[in-house]
Symmetry: C2
């Protein structure tokens, strides 16, 4: 499932919530937000706080993965293409 908009997020949240047999109030309780928040987010509110979205996904047992070419923040590849990244990494380590 590719996520590109807040609406996508809302759709998956609603879908997983129902799959788990949870009500909006039950999910809200798990996340630590109000039922209102769940309603708004499921409608696709784009200005919702990303931290709460992450908590909601976590509460639903949904994992968020990053793709797009590079491995992300983990330079496990061992082949950084930007000298800046190397320098920055060296700085952070030392």
């Amino acid at each position: 499932m590719l996520i590109r908009t807040a609406r996508d997020l809302g759709a998956v949240i609603r879908d997983h919530r129902r799959r788990l047999g949870l009500g909006q109030q039950a999910l809200a309780d798990r996340i630590g937000v109000s039922r209102q928040w769940v309603v708004e987010v499921e409608k696709g509110k784009p200005r919702a706080e990303v931290g709460l979205i992450l908590r909601a996904l976590d509460a639903l047992g949904v994992a968020l993965l990053l793709g797009g070419g590079t491995s992300g923040a983990d330079d496990q590849d061992g082949a950084a293409t930007d000298i800046d990244a190397i320098v920055d990494g060296a700085r952070g380590a030392g």
Copy 2:
């Protein structure tokens, strides 16, 4: 790359930005936000708006995938486990 917190998000955003050779101002311009916003998000601000985060990821060419067991909102599997989901789908269609 598994994302669980806003800090993870900030790390990958910063990482990809540098990989693309973009400055904070340049990225902010692409997303349509202020440089300030980029600084805060890269620090891991959990209350940033999810819509802007999505735009940032998009601007960086990063794809956001969902995992966690079920296929998500796409019932392509054809095997819904919850009767509620089926009923809801039927309602939406009719």
